[in-house]
Structure formats: structure tokens, C-alpha cells
């Protein structure tokens, strides 16, 4: 069931109606059954089976960790629980990647073997609920969370349908208390939920999917493009990915909010980051805080006596895992490693860089913000090239051509002004190009311009600005949004982050 489809909207409304008439005591049952039905609708029953195994395993291991008296026993149960989760993730998500690399390796080494794991499955949502389960077990092990005794509540916290296939990756401390206190539908949350849902839908089908029409032709056939085209396509891809994923997150948070559940905000103006470390505090926040707490910190503390190399190595390992989590392909691994290298280099040369800035005369040894934002955005885009490229070789070719062929495509050498314009607009009519740029500007800045104050210190992307409009203006905004969604939305494509 595609989240941007009418089917999903009807499904959500049906679940909401059933939820509304279900007595308080059994509201969790209505949501759990609906979530299972939703997952079943993807046509792969083993997904629901895997979710059940993960839920039951996590439930019992959580209780064992808590009840174990000896620290060593707690540790064993914790590792067994995490291991079980990781095995399920590998079996569902990484078998094609493992098989492909076994084949490559045996061919290169000239080894005769037919060994293949064989089964290649669909893994929609698995990495998200597996990561949430691991966080749950880790929090119990670290004694910052008590295990949930009610299996149904834990099951719903993992399977809750708005966030099942693409997150946010929730923490037990945040979602479990809300699930245990499910309440009747209230008008305020229903209104906020509806605003979030439609604003997210607009970002996805009108902005992100229109941008993909510019980006896809370039990235799917890199040999026929060069120079400036790669710059423009990569900038547009950066915004496509942001509006795709933040659009989804708004929709998920919107539907959840209708049931009075507040999911974690995943984004906070990521392209205004002043360093790559700052970027990771603003991009896919539920994931980046997960890798910081459960991967980076434990590795970093273990390597703390490796002098100044411990932290950069911990960063590179963490972002290697982040890369492979995003996708079973070398392009994602390389993308992750690039981020690890960016952050690690920042740590190793921190003192020297500060000294240089001081010598140049920048205040407090820091670059001016606009320059930091500009450089950070370009480092992020450099890494996005490999995230989006179909193969690593494509990625390297794009980088090479962006540098070598840039003078040519800027009509300084060889090409005419007409060719330059064609490259600027990626071969599309100028009206179409400027309309997507306008959409980017609207989707980025409208919330900031209209949002006078936030009611509960929500991040900038929260759509509370909707509520601050008069009812007439709100009606106009809804009318325009619905018009754009229905008549100008590109034919809905699946979400990029759904494949992870």
C-alpha cells in the first residue's frame, strides 16, 4: 500500500473511525490489528512473521536482561537479543548483496563454487523495527528503561503503521508511555495531524517527485551528460531527497498525531548546517541519534586510550555501518565512509584549523556562518553523488566530469550560450525548471515566514504555522495545496528511504 495513494488515505480514515468507537481499554488492539493488516498488504507474509519473531524475542530478552541478577548474565542476554535481531536483518536484507560479492570474489580468485545463500527477500521496514528493538534492549541493559510487561503494547510500539516502513526510529521511553495511555481522538491533534499529513504529501508528490524528473535522466545515463549538468542534478537531488524523506516523515507524524501519538521529528533545516557534524544533528535525527548512542559512543569509549585516533576511527566505523544500513550496495558504503572521513578529519585537524582561522582573523577561530553553510552543503552534495549514483564507477565519473568538463559546459571553452542554458535547465523547458525552483523556495521558506511562534517548542519544520492563519487563509492554503497535489503532483513514486 503506497503511502501517497488514495488507498492509504482511505485505510487511515477507516482505522481512525474504528479507533474512535473502540473503548479506551481496547484501542491498542484496534491499532495493532490495523498495523498487522497494513504490513500484510505488502504481499510478503514473511515480513509479518519476521516482525512477530522480533517482537516476541525482544520482549523476552528485555525481561531476561532486567531480571538477571549478575551483570555478566545481563550482558549475555543483551548480546543474544541484539544478535538475534541482526541475524534477522541480514537474512532479510543483505542476502542478495552477500551472494553478489561471493560471486564476484570467487570469479576474481578463479575459485569454482556454486555456493549461494539463494533466497532473496523484500525487507520493507525491517531495518527500522530491528533498530528500534536494539535500542529497546540497550536501554534496558543500561537501566534507562524498564521492560514493557504487556506484550501487546511492545508489539504496537514496534509495528505502529504510520512509522512501520520508514521510521522515525522511536525510543521506548518516548513511544511506550504514549501507547499505554491511548486516549479518545481530540480536535487539536486531529487538526495538527491533518496539516502535517497534507503538507508532507505536498512536499512528496509535488516537490520531490517533480525534482526526480530532472535528476533521474542525468543519473541513469551518466555517459551522455557532463560538467555543469552534474552540479545542477546533484543540487536538485539534495532537495529531492530532503523533500521526499521529510515529506514522508510529516505524513507519518500527521497520521500518528491523529491517534494522539507524537513521533520524533526527523529534520531540522539540515542544509543550514555549519559543519558535517551539525548536519548529522539535523538530518534523519532519529537515526543519527541512534548511531551516536548505540554505536559511536560505545566504540569511542572502548578506543579512548588510542590517543587522538580513537574518535576518528570510531567515526569511520560508525558511518561505515550507517552506509551499509542505508543499502546493500557499495555506493552506500562509500557514501557512509565519506561522512566518516569528513567527521574524522575534522576531529584530527581541529586544533590546526582553529589556529589557521585565528591567523586569518575570523572571530573566535570560526568561519562566518554563511561560508560554513556553503562549504558544508557542498561536502554533503559531494557525498550525495555516491548515494544517488547507480554504481561506484558512475559516482567517480560524475565527480571527474564535474571538475574536468566544467569550463567547457560554462561556455567558456567550446560550447555555445544555448548549450549552456540547456545544461542549466537539464534539457527541460525553462518554465518547468523555474517552477521547481519556486516550489523548493515555497516548501522551504513558507513555514518559516508564517510561523510566528511555536506552541510547544516544535522544530522549524512543524506545520503549526497552519494554525496561526485565519480560517479563510487556511481554507485558501488547503485549496492551493490540494489543487497542486491533485493536478500538479507527478505520478507518485515510492519513497527513497522505503528501500532502506
Amino acid at each position: 500500500m503506497n503511502i501517497t495513494s488514495l488507498k492509504y488515505l482511505v485505510f487511515s480514515l477507516a482505522v481512525l473511525s474504528v479507533y474512535a468507537i473502540t473503548p479506551k481499554k481496547y484501542k491498542w488492539v484496534s491499532l495493532l490489528v490495523s498495523s498487522c493488516f497494513f504490513y500484510y498488504s505488502f504481499g510478503a507474509p514473511y515480513l509479518l512473521f519476521s516482525l512477530s519473531v522480533v517482537t516476541i524475542g525482544t520482549y523476552f530478552f528485555g525481561l531476561y536482561i532486567y531480571k538477571a541478577v549478575k551483570q555478566s548474565h545481563k550482558k549475555v542476554f543483551f548480546f543474544l537479543g541484539v544478535l538475534g535481531n541482526i541475524i534477522i536483518l541480514i537474512l532479510l536484507k543483505y542476502t542478495p548483496f552477500i551472494d553478489e560479492n561471493i560471486k564476484r570474489f570467487t570469479e576474481a580468485a578463479n575459485i569454482q563454487t556454486d555456493f549461494q545463500i539463494g533466497f532473496h527477500l523484500v525487507a520493507i521496514g525491517v531495518s527500522y523495527f530491528v533498530f528500534q528493538s536494539i535500542a529497546y534492549l540497550a536501554d534496558i541493559y543500561l537501566e534507562t528503561l524498564k521492560p514493557e510487561k504487556h506484550l501487546g503494547y511492545l508489539a504496537l510500539s514496534l509495528s505502529f503503521f504510520p512509522k512501520l516502513i520508514q521510521g522515525p526510529i522511536e525510543r521506548g521511553n518516548s513511544i511506550l508511555p504514549q501507547i499505554k495511555n491511548l486516549d479518545n481522538i481530540n480536535r487539536t491533534n486531529l487538526a495538527i495531524g491533518t496539516h502535517l499529513f497534507f503538507w508532507g504529501l505536498f512536499k512528496k508528490v509535488v516537490v520531490a517527485d517533480r525534482l526526480s524528473a530532472f535528476v533521474d535522466p542525468v543519473y541513469s545515463d551518466v555517459s551522455t551528460h557532463y560538467g555543469l549538468e552534474f552540479f545542477i542534478a546533484t543540487y536538485l537531488f539534495a532537495f529531492q531527497l530532503y523533500f521526499d524523506f521529510s515529506g514522508y516523515t510529516d505524513m507519518a507524524r500527521g497520521v500518528a498525531r491523529c491517534f494522539n501519538i507524537k513521533l520524533t521529528e526527523n529534520f531540522n533545516s539540515p542544509y543550514l548546517a555549519t559543519s558535517t557534524a551539525d548536519f548529522w544533528r539535523r538530518w534523519h535525527i532519529s537515526f543519527s541519534s541512534w548511531i551516536l548512542d548505540y554505536l559511536f559512543k560505545p566504540i569511542q569509549f572502548n578506543l579512548r586510550y588510542w590517543l587522538k585516533w580513537g574518535t576518528p576511527i570510531a567515526l569511520i566505523i560508525t558511518f561505515f555501518v550507517s552506509g551499509i544500513w542505508h543499502g546493500a550496495a557499495w555506493t552506500y558504503v562509500f557514501w557512509g565512509l565519506l561522512h566518516g572521513i569528513f567527521l574524522g578529519t575534522g576531529v584530527v585537524f581541529k586544533k590546526q584549523v582553529k589556529q589557521i582561522y585565528k591567523k586569518i582573523g575570523f572571530k573566535k577561530g570560526k568561519l562566518p556562518d554563511f561560508l560554513s553553510v556553503f562549504i558544508t552543503f557542498h561536502l554533503i552534495c559531494f557525498a550525495w553523488v555516491f548515494f544517488r549514483a547507480q554504481t561506484l564507477m558512475d559516482g567517480f565519473l560524475i565527480i571527474k566530469s564535474s571538475i574536468v568538463d566544467l569550463p567547457k559546459s560554462l561556455f567558456l571553452v567550446g560550447d555555445s550560450y544555448q548549450v549552456f542554458l540547456k545544461h542549466c535547465f537539464l534539457g527541460k523547458p525553462s518554465v518547468e525548471f523555474f517552477s521547481v525552483i519556486t516550489l523548493i523556495i515555497i516548501a522551504s521558506f513558507v513555514p518559516k515566514v508564517f510561523q510566528k511562534n511555536s506552541l510547544d517548542e516544535a522544530p522549524a519544520d512543524e506545520v503549526l504555522w497552519f494554525r496561526e492563519l485565519s480560517s479563510i487563509s487556511r481554507g485558501v492554503v488547503y485549496g492551493v495545496l490540494l489543487y497542486l497535489i491533485i493536478f500538479c503532483g507527478a505520478s507518485a513514486q515510492s519513497f527513497i528511504y522505503m528501500q532502506f
Binding site: L142, L292, D293, Q300, F301, R304, G310, T311, K350
Partner: protein, 80 residues
Amino acid sequence: MIILEHLREIFCEVFDDDEIELTPEMTANDVDGWDSLSHVNLIVTIETRFKIRFTQKELLTFKNVGDLNRSINDKVSINR
């Protein structure tokens, strides 16, 4: 009290700021430059000066200066 004063000296040294005053509720957000890198430097310096070792679990659950101080006190009194 002596441990807290010693801890304050370590904070001043690691964060290169002589004005730091420690309170039990103080967190990383309250000290300029207390990021993940300087946090590791802080922990290593504390472990070396007090001749103690924190466990992984302790390191992952310290919430504020109060937690840190309590743990140092416990370990130092055992060593004595």
C-alpha cells in the same frame, strides 16, 4: 569536596577555561566546547589523575556532573 575541587581543575584544563564552576546538574550543554571529542579527553584525564577506570555502562549512562562525581567518589573510596 576535595574530589569536586580536583574535578573542577580537570574541567578547567580540558576545556581551557579557568572560570568553570561545577554544579551537580551541569551537563554538556552548559559548558562551551564539551563535545564528544573533549568528553573522551575529560574521561581519560579523570581516569588517569584519579587512577580509576569507568565501565562502559557507566560511561554510557552519566547524565551530568553529579553522576560523574558520585562515580569517582565510589571508586576512589574503594581504592583507599
